[in-house]
């Protein structure tokens, strides 16, 4: 392919060098790696300061190497050669166990220190009974009109939660005629013991989730059995726990939130069709190795690393001496803030996304809203802090630095991100599915409810969790709304002052003279914050992978 010049002479190719291309390629590689490597170095540095692995005895390292690392590598390699899917299943299983254990810690924190079991139990009863009534009404009374059913449903819920006349009567001072179901349960002279109430609420939710998961894999009968088994396991844990040194309530929570789902996942991965039981062997090696290592180290008397992130750090509150300082109120504060943020931003964000994608006409107003949402996603967090301060504290007169104000401000901060990612998820539902639904005579509402939302749900959830991951690390808005640097208890109500992990870390880094705060407590706090963040993100990643495989 030589070229003809204008004079008609034929020129040869000249020299084509590969060097530029190669250089360019490696420059791109360097650009890719730069950020990742820097971040990894920073994280290693921080983790080294926080966990201090080098302070452990050599024997400790050796024991864990022989007991955990070596068998894991051997079994992992064997499994990998036999069946690659089995290895990834095994690794995921271990990950599920670790992450769900962390989450059970968070739930246990709520169950023990924030929401009294009786209150949770009463509200669970107050919600389940009317829900059951509503389902019954929908299923068995086809004849009644939609309006009647709506009114009946509202009435049932109102009666169960508020009683008669309830909040409507309060302004005029009407006496309470009929106590609500919640009130009724709260005032029983004899109530179940705490472990049973916690098992009923949390074990019940866990059993329902596991039941429907199993039912999705097999059928409803097996699902029902699984749910009953899960529920019984959670309840039993409350009675078995004390024998293995766990308090009853945490035992119930850990079983319901961590063990039961992990077992369900293990069953699904190992014993259903196309399952890979070999993965189980890998997971067992890792978990068993860790346990054996822990027992052996204890028996042989090797000292572990003098990690700053230890049980004491996780469960005590701030102290003036760095050795006794802990992150507990900040962890709890972050969990409560994130719950508030999720409760506020999820319905608002998903609602807005569904409207914009499914209902909004394509006109100037919609485009204007579109552009603004994209811009709002990039607005600096400190500006949202100012907005929160102005709207909630100054204008609405709420007191500064509370869970509600902090949660609402952070919810505003991530709302645009939730909307954008939910819209992406909704947009990725194939148009064919919608058309098919319309073709079968479904209305738009039915299509959204039965086709679009279920299809896009994992994507929506992924986006929301990633957005929450941004919110959990935010410091500036919390400082702006006047959240305290240090609190000593978990907030008891939505109106209590709250601190959060990044705020506590910031306080340690700046307000205390002792060097230990700066060089040890701060890295330890950062490591805990990152661990929580990574656990949240890992859920998002698993969901996304599953979603992509399905879609």
């Amino acid at each position: 392919m030589a070229t003809n010049t204008e004079t008609g002479e034929i020129e040869d190719f000249g020299q084509v060098s590969r060097t530029v291309g190669t250089v360019f390629r490696y420059l791109l590689l360097a650009a890719t790696m730069f950020g990742i490597v820097m971040l990894a170095i920073l994280l290693l540095y921080v983790a080294n300061d926080a966990i201090r692995p080098l302070t452990a005895d050599l024997g400790w390292h050796l024991t864990f190497f022989v007991g955990l690392v070596l068998p894991t590598l051997l079994v992992g390699w064997t499994v990998y050669r036999r069946d690659r899917a089995a290895l990834s299943f095994g690794a995921l299983l271990v990950g599920t166990l670790v992450v769900s254990l962390m989450f059970s810690g968070g739930v246990a924190l709520l169950a023990i220190d924030v929401i009294p079991p009786l209150v949770a139990f009463a509200y669970a009863v107050g919600l389940v009974v009317p829900t059951a009534a509503t389902v019954g009404l929908t299923r068995y009374a086809h004849r009644i009109s939609f309006t009647t059913r709506l009114i009946a449903t509202t009435m049932v819920f109102y009666l169960a939660l508020f009683g008669l006349p309830g909040p409507i009567g309060d302004p005029v001072g009407a006496p309470s005629l009929v106590p609500s179901l919640v009130e009724f349960v709260l005032t029983r002279p004899v109530i179940p013991v705490d472990r049973v109430m916690v098992a009923t609420v949390i074990g019940g939710i866990s059993a329902a989730a596991v039941g429907s998961y199993v039912a999705g894999v097999r059928d409803w009968t097996i699902g029902l059995y699984a749910a009953i088994a899960a529920f019984l396991a959670s309840t039993a844990a409350g009675y078995v726990g004390p024998f293995v040194g766990l308090n009853p309530v945490p035992a119930v929570v850990v079983t319901a939130v961590a063990f039961v789902p992990t077992v369900a996942y293990a069953w699904r991965g190992a014993f259903t069709e196309g399952g890979s039981p070999l993965g189980l062997a890998f997971a067992a090696t890792v978990v068993g190795g860790a346990l054996v290592g822990a027992v052996a180290v204890d028996a042989l008397g090797f000292a572990g690393p003098q990690s700053w992130v230890d049980w004491q750090f996780l469960t005590s509150s701030h102290s003036g001496t760095a050795e006794n300082a802990g992150l507990y109120p900040a962890i709890g504060g972050s969990i409560l803030l994130m719950s508030t943020v999720a409760a506020l931003s999820f319905p608002l964000g998903v609602g807005a996304a569904v409207y914009l994608e499914e209902y909004a006409p394509d006109n100037a107003l919609t485009r204007f809203v579109d552009v603004n949402i994209s811009n709002l996603a990039g607005v600096p967090s400190v500006v949202y802090g100012l907005l929160g301060l102005g709207v909630f504290v100054t204008y609405l007169g709420r007191s500064a630095g509370t869970v509600l104000v902090g949660g609402a401000t952070l919810a505003l901060l991530i709302l645009p991100i939730v909307i954008i990612s939910s819209r992406e998820a909704i947009r990725s539902v194939p148009t064919d599915l919608r058309q098919a639904s319309y073709g079968m005579g479904a209305t738009r509402w039915q299509t959204v409810k039965n086709v679009v939302l279920p299809e896009s749900f994992p994507g929506i959830l992924t986006g929301t969790i990633l957005a929450l991951g941004r919110a959990i690390g935010e410091t500036a808005p919390l400082i702006m709304i006047g959240a305290p640097n240090v609190v000593f208890d978990l907030p008891a109500t939505l109106g209590s002052k709250v601190s959060a992990m990044p705020l506590q870390v910031y306080a340690w880094s700046s307000l205390f003279a002792s060097e230990d705060f700066y060089t040890k407590a701060v890295p330890a706090g950062v490591v805990v914050l990152l661990a929580v963040l990574l656990a949240m993100n890992s859920i998002a990643i698993v969901l996304r992978n599953k979603f992509e495989r399905a879609g």
Partner: protein
């Protein structure tokens, strides 16, 4: 349809109901307790039996804002107070003395405002405008410390107050160390100090620069004492000032400059020299300002008393935090103020 048939085949609904009901009853029979909330209807539901013990009957929130210098004292006191009264929630926020008065205390949002200098007339006005009454409690004495890097060898004797004024005043045109003292190197002075939200800044103006002068603004201001420390430690020609606690816990990375007031000797800052009154003019009282209406609530009065009771403690104030504790006489005077305010005697 086939699924329904299968379901009905495996067990009937009646069997299921009776099984679950029986299990539930059997379970509940041995697993009940008396409702702890009904025994004491006056108490909020969160107060279970035995949660408080004898001393834990007080409950409520206490919110504290203000000076970052006083923050460590407040946090040390709250930590100990929480041990005896777990039902009281204390929250502490570091906003700087002035920031705390203007944005939180005088708008009525906080119960205490910590300050590293006395309340100023305009803040008094703001508080009065919002009907916030307060009392002044001295909680410790600080020795404001002027620091240089340990590499700095030319300042050996110390600095006089006049030299400090020359360096930090907005009017003076001191750029290099040689401008201060001819024998010192001709290198620019790097200045680090607290920002103007800080009481330390206000006190420094009052004590060194004088009311009529003003603090120079071409320095690196920060609310974080650690930034001052790091800035000064990093340069031979840097100079900064901060509270004594920060210096005393980091005395290996920076050096405190002895200060000469008028015709006196050069005095090094220390707990002793501050207590003896030798370290002038930079030793200063630290305060907290409780709201009178808050003191009339039992749990807040208890906290104020607890704080002042322990304000003579060598262990907490001097060793843990790094300030000079109150004398017995001062403590009695402060406790008297709390009593008067709590009883509504003023």
């Amino acid at each position: 349809m086939t699924r329904d048939l299968e379901r009905n085949r495996s067990f009937s609904r009646r069997e299921l109901l009776s099984a679950v009901g029986g299990l539930g009853l059997a379970g509940l029979a041995g697993c009940t307790q008396e409702n702890p909330n009904l025994g004491s209807t006056a108490e909020p539901p969160s107060d279970g039996p035995g949660s408080g013990g004898g001393s834990g009957t007080l409950s409520g929130d206490i919110s504290i804002a203000g000076s970052s210098t006083v923050f460590p004292i407040a946090s040390a006191m709250s930590e100990r107070f929480e041990e005896s009264y777990p039902d009281i929630d204390v929250s502490i926020q570091s906003t700087g003395s002035g920031g705390g008065f203007a944005n939180y205390f005088c708008t009525g949002q906080t119960d205490f405002n910590n300050a590293s200098r006395p309340i100023q007339p305009e803040e008094e006005e703001q508080c009065a405008g919002n009907d916030v009454e307060w009392i002044e409690l001295k909680v410790a004495t600080d020795a404001l410390t002027v620091i240089v890097s340990t590499d700095n060898e030319f300042i050996d004797e110390g600095l006089t107050v006049e030299q400090l004024r020359e360096i930090w005043s907005a009017d003076a045109d001191v750029e290099t160390w040689a401008d201060v003292e001819d024998s010192w190197p001709d290198e620019p002075i790097e200045l680090y100090g607290p920002s103007d939200a800080s009481g330390t800044y206000d006190y420094f103006i009052e004590a060194v620069i004088g009311e009529e002068g003003s603090h120079r603004q071409d320095y690196s201001p920060t609310e974080q004492d650690r930034t001052i420390l790091q800035g000064v430690a990093g340069s031979e020609y840097a100079l900064g000032y901060l509270g004594f606690a920060y210096y005393s816990q980091n005395s290996d990375s920076v050096r405190a400059v002895p200060i000469k007031d008028g015709d006196g000797d050069y005095v090094e800052p220390s707990l002793e020299t501050a207590l003896e009154g030798e370290y002038t003019p930079l030793s200063r009282p630290l305060f907290t300002y409780p709201k009178v209406s808050a003191l009339q609530e039992g749990h807040i009065e208890a906290f104020a008393r607890f704080w002042l009771d322990n304000s003579t403690s060598q262990e907490i104030i001097a060793e843990e935090v790094g300030y000079v504790p109150l004398s017995e006489a001062e403590r009695e005077q402060m406790l008297g103020r709390i009593y008067a305010a709590a009883e509504g005697l003023n």
